[in-house]
Amino acid sequence: MSGEKVLLNTEWLCDCGGCHIALVDLHEKILNVLESVEIQKCPVLTDIKEYPEAEIGILTGSIRTEHDRHAALEMRKKCKTIIAFGTCAVYGGLHGAGLAHSREELVDCVYKNSKTTKTDFVPSERIDALSHEVTPIDEVIDVDLYLPGCPPHAHFIFESLTTLIEKKKPETNQETVCGRCRRVMKKTDVTEIKDPLEGVPDEHTCFLSQGYICLGSATLDRCLAPCPNHGVACSGCAGPSMQILTEPTRDIRTEVADRMSRLTNIPAEKVKQRIESSAKTHYAYAMATKMVGNKPTFLIQKWIADVEAQ
């Protein structure tokens, strides 16, 4: 029996564990998956510590230590198809914000300038040191498929696994979060950008129309738009849309600024400035990737330095 099953390995690198939990949370569908898949290495579920040969390899998290790099290379060697699973694996993820700080700043904050810790050293014995920056995995190994999302919704996880198991061509829905959002975009005469805490947003109208910044139109849908459908604007955790990735002159702020200025009476320039001034928040998830970080329009370190100089 098991000989006919598709062999699967998973491994986590520097991450929060949420993507692995999302896999487990296929719920009853995981039982379906188990009928045709043999899970081998999977740190959260099994005790297999080595890397067996496998058809499919799921990698979550990004690369922060030598241990992470080694694990990614081993997975590539042993697995025919590698999926970069989750925003951390695809774009570096939230801790890619490490990019805005040096490694020294991070460790000094944690060990030396903490309210509860008074230490004059940084741990370094018999553990792998942190690398200088956070690296998305495709800068270290070849990746066959990308499934961003923080974490990706079960709908997309199941869809991608079944496609692979049945050896079909993967579907690549390129819609943005707006596609699944139930709010209605309409033209308003709003003239000022609102803070997220200002007033109570109307639950049926697009956030942009009401003057609140929402990153839905610049974000790939791998989540079914839970945030705008439950009262909160999208913060872009699944990473940028295809349009932003493929067109060199577009980026998150230009996309949102254009759309917002068309829906309101707020000038696009004002929206752009606002996003730049809180770049650490609005570029939170995809800072570490060259796909975004090398864009000519993207000057995040400068924007952060400008704010900090004030």
Binding site: C14, D15, C16, G17, G18, C19, H20, I21, A22, D25, H27, E28, L31, L34, V44, L45, T46, D47, I48, K49, R64, T65, L94, H95, A97, G98, A100, H101, L106, V107, C109, V110, Y111, S114, K115, T116, T117, K118, F121, P123, E125, R126, I127, D128, P151, D195, P196, L197, V200, P226, C227, N229, H230, G231, V232, S235, C237, K280, T281, V307
Partner: protein, 450 residues
């Protein structure tokens, strides 16, 4: 020359760790360590961000207990901005956090820990996992998967995201609960409560009675405990209250959460990225010596069960009384973390029902008005894996200038190291060990659910 046994990674836990057991020339244990390998530096990269954004960012510290980071962080920002959430907003946050506890306990007990007990600690490592359980006990496994699904979907339907939630906001909650949603949730929670009671019975018969000898020995150490209690009647709490720091002899001190700096400190070892909290207020320093530990306390389920005077919900309280009559207070055996976890599972179901039956829960006044500003706020909740502390200072624009975080698991890093060493010394003699024995060392860690 001695040698080092590396167990890397420790598997079926929720974090990133490895164990190194150092043997001397005769093959006996010289020392043992649990190394925490991961460091991301959230305290630094939330600096400068608008504080109201932070509760949805810090979730990413941990994908297993994101709700607790979400609520603790919201409380800390409320404190810094000087806002009191509306009564309904406050209770909705508690509701979601307590529901997340239900799902977490089902996940941990059945998916991560149960294979050791259902299949046995010595079962072949390639089948000793939840997939093995699915094969060995398919009906139970299907039921477990359905229950976890029921719980997670309750959260997802109402609050949008179960993993990395967004629905709690500074000042309260982002949306009200509809009457129809409340009715559906009451029904589902009743099903979960029945399952919780079944689980505790199952575990008493198949785990705790069967493995009594192992429980008495594996990973046993003697420490203090930290947990949250109700401000008034000193009963069990996981969402709010005061902190209680108990010594190994059962004496204790209670304090306000915002005063934690007077009681707790963090120690750093050069071989571990994870910092090790200890009881600074005991004035004895920090030492992981197995026979005479100094400053060491534990948190998480067993700690909460030990520190509370009683539990406010009837079924969980009955289970607590039975537990105490057998194991005493404070109970020290490490594997009892599993037992305590299942008592908490019953509490979490009962408390969810209480909250859903509260008249005000469907009120639409879910969010207080908020003005960002300068201040300091300390948000404390009990995460499944221990007391979680978020402490923020903000500037006049409401941006974070300083953050201090003590994450649930870290309280147990020093105790886990001690339990690893204790079990390694007890199990590995004269160079004799096998994968069953090494798995038992990992079981000592797994009990803490790190």
């Amino acid at each position: 020359m001695g040698k080092v046994l590396n167990l890397a990674p420790v598997s079926r836990i929720e974090g990133h760790a490895k164990i190194a057991i150092h043997l001397d020339d005769t093959g006996n244990v010289e020392d043992a360590f649990m190394h925490i390998q991961s460091l991301r530096g959230f305290e630094k990269f939330i600096e400068g961000r608008p504080a109201e954004e932070v509760p949805r960012i810090v979730n990413r510290i941990c994908g297993i207990c994101p709700w607790m980071h979400h609520t603790a962080s919201n409380k800390a920002v409320d404190g810094a901005f000087g806002v009191t959430p509306t009564a309904t907003g406050h209770k909705l946050r508690e509701l979601l956090q307590v529901m997340a506890h239900i799902n977490d306990k089902i996940l941990h007990f059945f998916f991560l820990a149960a294979p050791d007990f259902v299949l046995g600690p010595d079962a072949d490592y390639s089948v000793r996992n939840v997939i093995g359980v699915v094969k060995a006990a398919p009906e139970l496994a299907t039921k477990v998967v359905q229950m976890r699904q029921l719980g997670q979907m309750m959260i997802e339907r109402f609050a949008g995201k179960a993993i990395h939630p967004i629905a709690a906001v500074v000042g309260g909650f982002s949306k009200p609960l509809l009457e129809s949603e409340r009715q559906a949730m009451i029904k589902d929670t009743q099903t979960l409560l029945d399952f919780a009671e079944y689980t505790l019975d199952f575990a008493k018969n198949n785990v705790f009675n069967k493995y009594l000898e192992v429980i008495k020995q594996l990973g046993v150490i003697k420490t203090g405990f930290l947990g949250t209690i109700d401000k008034n009647d000193k009963s069990f709490r996981i969402f709010d209250g005061d902190l209680r720091l108990m010594k190994a002899d059962g004496t204790f001190t209670d304090f306000k959460t915002e005063d934690y700096l007077d009681y707790l400190g963090e120690h750093t070892e050069p071989w571990c990225f994870g910092k090790m909290p200890y009881a600074k207020s005991w004035g004895e320093g920090f030492d992981m010596n197995l026979d005479a530990p100094k400053g060491i306390y534990r948190s998480n389920t067993l700690a909460r069960i030990n520190v509370c005077d009683h539990i406010s919900t009837p079924k969980a309280n009955a289970a607590l009384e039975e537990f105490r009559s057998v194991f005493g207070r404070p109970a020290q055996q490490t594997l009892l973390y599993h037992y305590a976890r299942l008592i908490e599972l019953i509490y979490a179901c009962e408390r969810t029902l209480e909250l859903l039956n509260w008249d005000g829960i469907t009120d639409t006044n879910v969010r207080a008005e908020v003005t960002p500003g300068a201040g300091r706020g300390v948000g404390v909740v009990e995460a499944p894996r221990g007391t979680l502390i978020h402490d923020y200072t903000t500037d006049e624009n409401g941006c974070i200038t300083k953050a201090n975080l003590i994450v649930g698991t870290t309280h147990n890093i020093a105790p886990m190291n001690m339990s690893v060493k204790q079990s390694a010394i007890a199990l590995i003699k004269d160079g004799k060990y096998d994968q069953g024995i090494l798995n038992q060392v990992e079981m000592a860690v797994r009990a803490y659910d790190p």
